[in-house]
């Protein structure tokens, strides 16, 4: 049987609209990546043309890679991001479990207290944080960054995770309790595995500001050995501001890892977001 024509028409329109916006979303990024492989003249004279044999050039990448240790920057970023995410997820999940699972005095207050964190930019507390880190000798260590990002990420993580924690079947937890499992075992062995998709969601939302942050790496860990990739890129952009080959190459180098990480997480993200929906 033929498809119902109304459906077919509708779908064509839908694809048209979605495709259109997808172009808007992706074109600027493609433009940067594309031009980073062209020579200087071509970048300026034919910005919209893809690199051809005549215009292909890797000079930008040569310039950039010669200057800094991108690999080590990338590694630092990775350690900081993954480390912070680990603590955000662990601590956030524990706290939101306590807040949603148990009724106790101060429960509501603590929930609100945690929410305050999203209302003031944490940057303002920099001096206090830096003094604290200096006192504990953590300056220029990736651990300092991990701590700060953990604190910064917790409010949102608790907020989102609480929503998901509520959806874990009470019977399931009770079954565990009746089975003789302690609260810790219930949390770690039963609840945590079940909110994994939600954790992925929180991971993505928390990852963005961490990976892209410039300020705290600059203040807390600017040393060459602890420099993150965003900070590294920023230095390049400053340094080669007129050398567009280098700038475009640096931009491309810095956005690719973020995109790769995102692609890895995105499947989980969708599952997390829609976990409640598709049972």
């Amino acid at each position: 049987m033929a498809q119902i024509p109304v459906f077919r028409m509708r779908r064509a329109v839908v694809h048209g609209l979605l495709g259109g916006y997808t172009l808007i979303a992706i074109l600027p990024v493609l433009l940067i990546i594309m031009n980073s492989f062209k020579d200087r003249k071509a970048i300026f004279n034919h910005p919209l043309a893809p690199p051809g044999p005549a215009t292909f050039s890797l000079i930008g990448y040569e310039t950039v890679l010669k200057q800094g240790d991108f690999l080590s920057y990338f590694q630092n970023s990775l350690i900081v991001t993954v480390g912070s995410l680990f603590f955000i997820l662990l601590f956030g999940a524990m706290a939101s479990f306590a807040l949603t699972e148990y009724r106790f005095r101060g429960n509501v207050f603590l929930g609100l207290f945690l929410a305050l964190g999203v209302m003031v930019p944490i940057r303002l507390g920099t001096i206090g944080i830096l003094e604290m880190m200096a006192k504990s000798g953590l300056v220029n260590s990736l651990f300092a960054l991990i701590l700060v990002y953990t604190a910064q990420g917790l409010p949102l993580a608790c907020f989102v995770l609480s929503e998901f924690m509520r959806t874990v079947s009470a019977d399931l937890k009770n079954a565990g309790r009746v089975d003789g499992l302690s609260e810790y075992v219930v949390f770690f062995r039963l609840v945590l595995p079940l909110v994994r998709p939600a954790m992925a969601t929180v991971a993505i939302f928390s990852m963005i500001p961490i990976w892209n942050d410039l300020w705290f790496p600059l203040i807390l860990a600017p040393a060459e050995g602890t420099k993150t990739i965003t900070l590294g890129t920023q230095v390049f952009i400053g340094q080669f501001v007129t050398n567009w080959n280098a700038v475009l190459a640096a931009l491309t180098l810095s956005l690719t890892p973020a995109l790769i990480l995102y692609l890895i997480f995105s499947r989980q993200l969708i599952r997390g977001l829609t976990a409640g929906a598709v049972k």
Partner: protein
């Protein structure tokens, strides 16, 4: 081991009192079924026994020990939930083993117990599957297996069959009955299914609005319901209630007659009426008869009885199967 005693147990949710003072003694090895309309507090009471809900007043005693302050894990009970509540990320075996591992039971012992339980419940083929890969009936059996391996003195079941389809329900029901015979454990079982309650229970506890209406053996409740509520609740189709003159004739405020205890005849019966609707089930026929001044009476006839809507009929109750209730709704002495 396995006796249970409730003393003046009350439970409030905020202002709302869900359990209004329940006293109950359950002997070791007994199979007790809680029935009652939806929202009457069956689950709440079961959860109080399990320790999942803190009761507001009274005591729960298991094996002669007051367990009010003990967390569920320490009460020596096992519970099977209506939703199965299997751990979705663990295999059937993992589900059964988790509690034992956590208790630190020796590996060999764990294996022995799981093997024993899975033999008993015919789960051998399923042990490595995850819950998502199992049918409803299989899941239910795993849930029971998970309870069994812990060798508790007291089993709590909360409507374990309500999610199953008709065929499975019958099978699993028989399996639970067999299990009870085999393990000789005490079982408290919540259901709202007539057939389950009647066929499984040693004693049935009828709850209504948080209080016990009657406790007794199934046939005792069927034969001598203590009040209108129990009379209406036990038995399917529901008991017919006749009031007014017709009841007064028998010296009662309300007269109860079960559909299976009404005889249908052409003329000369106690009540005259007109057939309003007939339902043929093959094995039975339900005839709905409109009796003026009395209302619609349901008559259950065996097999494929012939009765057409509109026909004038006469009805008689079977003599010694009448239930008489006083103005307070309580049963009158026979």
């Amino acid at each position: 081991m396995g006796s249970l005693k409730l003393k003046g147990v009350r439970k409030s949710f905020g202002k709302f009192e869900a359990i209004k003072g329940v006293d109950l003694d359950i002997a070791d090895g007994e199979f007790v079924v809680f029935v009652g309309p939806s929202g009457c507090g069956k689950s709440t009471l079961l959860r109080v026994i399990a320790g999942l809900e803190e009761h507001s007043e009274g005591n729960v005693e298991i094996d002669g020990r007051i367990v009010d302050a003990l967390p569920p894990a320490k009460r020596g009970i096992a519970m099977v939930f209506q939703t199965y509540a299997l751990y979705p990320h663990l295999s059937a075996r993992g589900n059964m083993e988790l509690a034992l591992k956590q208790e630190g039971v020796a590996r060999s012992d764990i294996d022995a117990r799981v093997t024993e339980a899975s033999r008993m419940l015919a789960l051998d083929q399923l042990l490595d599957r995850r819950p998502a890969e199992l049918s409803g009936g299989q899941r239910q059996r795993i849930a029971i297996g998970r309870a069994v391996v812990r060798q508790p003195s007291l089993f709590l079941f909360d409507e374990p069959l309500s999610n199953l389809d008709a065929g499975l329900r019958v099978n699993t029901r028989l399996e639970i009955a067999r299990l009870h015979r085999l393990l000789k454990a005490t079982i408290v079982y919540v259901t709202h299914d007539q057939v389950e309650a009647m066929t499984l229970a040693d004693r049935i506890v009828v709850l209504n609005q948080g209080a016990i209406e009657q406790v007794g053996a199934p046939l005792e409740l069927y034969r001598r319901p203590a009040n209108l509520f129990v009379a209406g609740f036990i038995g399917s189709p529901r008991m017919n209630f006749v009031q007014g003159a017709a009841a007064a004739a028998y010296g009662a405020q309300t007269l109860g007659v079960r559909p299976e205890h009404l005889r249908l005849m052409g003329t000369g019966g106690t009540w005259q009426g007109e057939v309003s609707h007939v339902e043929h089930l093959g094995s039975d026929t339900f005839v709905y008869v409109d009796v003026p001044q009395t209302g619609t009476l349901t008559v259950r006839l065996d097999g494929e009885a012939v009765a057409a809507p509109g026909a004038k009929v006469s009805l008689s109750p079977v003599a010694n199967q009448l239930h008489r209730f006083g103005p307070d709704g309580q049963r009158l002495a026979d």
